[in-house]
């Protein structure tokens, strides 16, 4: 048995949709448990009073990164077969910037807005409708911006390749960076505890 299972045709695409639903349940469950159904908690990230976004995101990244790395090292998981989005520096940097602004204005990102809506938030629903609209606008002007959209393409490229460091060393550095970020997050939560929406109730 080799992983990724689907890429070795252990099951067909209809079953993959069932897998998608089950993985989605885990995803949604974790996001809700983590408090990501609440726009106030999410937005508090940007006012340094509640750092759940950073903590959840980075501990998830570190967990999955270590998992992928060690499963790759023992030769069970073939990293080459995991889909990676190609890098397009400028569109991704600008897209990230716009997304960050949208995050602080709307209080969600696409995944968390779905979770929020599932627990009954009307603003989550409005956000989803907004996202549909934004995607529609993007689709309509796509012919005009497709040049920019396809610019500065580096193909599939990883941090170890860019930094010319061994993969394991980058893993180590990311772990250290995450631990440092957690420490800062704890400190800043203590300092701005007076405006943490989680402490209100």
């Amino acid at each position: 048995m080799n992983a990724p299972f689907y890429k070795f045709n252990y099951f067909n695409s209809d079953i993959s949709l069932v897998v998608a639903f089950l993985i989605g349940i885990g995803f949604g469950f974790a996001l809700e448990k983590g408090g990501f159904g609440s726009a106030r908690i999410l937005a508090a990230q940007f006012y340094l009073s509640n750092m759940r976004v950073l903590k959840v995101m980075f501990s998830a990244i570190v967990t999955a990164m270590l998992g992928v790395y060690f499963l790759g090292v023992i030769g069970w998981l073939d990293l080459k077969l995991i889909y990676m989005t190609e890098t397009y520096i400028l569109p991704q940097a600008l897209g990230g910037l716009i997304l960050g602004v949208g995050f602080v204005i709307g209080g969600y990102c696409p995944g968390t807005s779905v979770v929020s809506f599932s627990t009954g938030s009307i603003d989550g629903l409005m956000y989803i409708l907004g996202a549909f609209f934004g995607i529609f606008v993007f689709g309509e002007i796509y012919p005009l911006i497709s040049n920019f959209y396809n610019s500065t393409n580096l193909g599939v490229i990883t941090l170890p390749e860019v930094l010319h460091l061994p993969y394991g060393m980058v893993v180590f550095l990311v772990v250290i960076m995450a631990l440092g970020a957690f420490l800062l997050a704890e400190l800043s939560e203590r300092k701005f505890a007076f405006r943490n929406p989680e402490n209100e109730k």
Partner: protein
């Protein structure tokens, strides 16, 4: 008589408590993060791909445009990518099913923790109407930005972050830059 009114008010209080049970506090973010990381790892191991959200929304938009104006949709490369060659329904997509799962998962967790409530999440100094408008605007920006970046926080930052994808890390840093830069202007909404 007094005792009767006391019983009534007691009942009423209990009733109120029943209507609005205190929601359980959110779980430890680190444990949740590890759980989320394991879900992501499961996606890698089972499917060879990561999580996503905005992709499903794009499929729905493309599906909508295609049903209203098929010629318009087929002349546009962006929609075409989501519609495919027409042999399968664009909604029969991995990410669409995954997001349906997210809806279900969020609802299950919300139910277990007593957090299902029809509500508008907002700061104390902003009206509901304004908050809903802001949510719509934020969503639009997010939808546009996510498409430009070829993914959102789930598809790019989380998935690509764990795979040490170079573009995803640039994207992730820029999200925080954008958020912190604009946080000041929006403090009335949230604080």
């Amino acid at each position: 008589m007094e005792s009767v009114s006391k019983i009534v008010s007691d009942l009423f209080e209990k009733d109120q408590e029943f209507v609005e049970p205190k929601p359980k506090p959110y779980s430890d973010p680190y444990l949740v993060g590890i759980g989320l990381g394991l879900v992501l790892l499961a996606a890698f191991v089972i499917m060879g791909r990561g999580l996503g959200a905005s992709g499903a929304m794009s499929s729905i938009v493309a599906y909508g445009v295609n049903s209203l104006a098929p010629e318009h949709a087929s002349s546009n490369d962006f929609y075409k990518e989501y519609i495919g060659d027409g042999t399968t329904n664009p909604l029969k997509d991995w990410l669409v099913f995954e997001v349906l799962g997210v809806l279900a998962g969020g609802f299950i967790s919300g139910t277990l923790s007593g957090r299902i409530r029809v509500r508008v999440e907002k700061g104390n100094n902003i009206s509901k109407k304004k908050r809903l408008l802001f949510a719509f605007i934020g969503g639009s920006l997010m939808g546009f930005g996510a498409k430009l970046a070829r993914g959102c926080t789930s598809g790019q930052a989380l998935t690509g972050g764990a795979l040490l994808n170079f573009g995803s890390w640039i994207f992730m840093i820029m999200i925080f830059v954008g958020g912190y830069l604009f946080a000041y202007f929006l403090r009335r909404q949230w604080l």
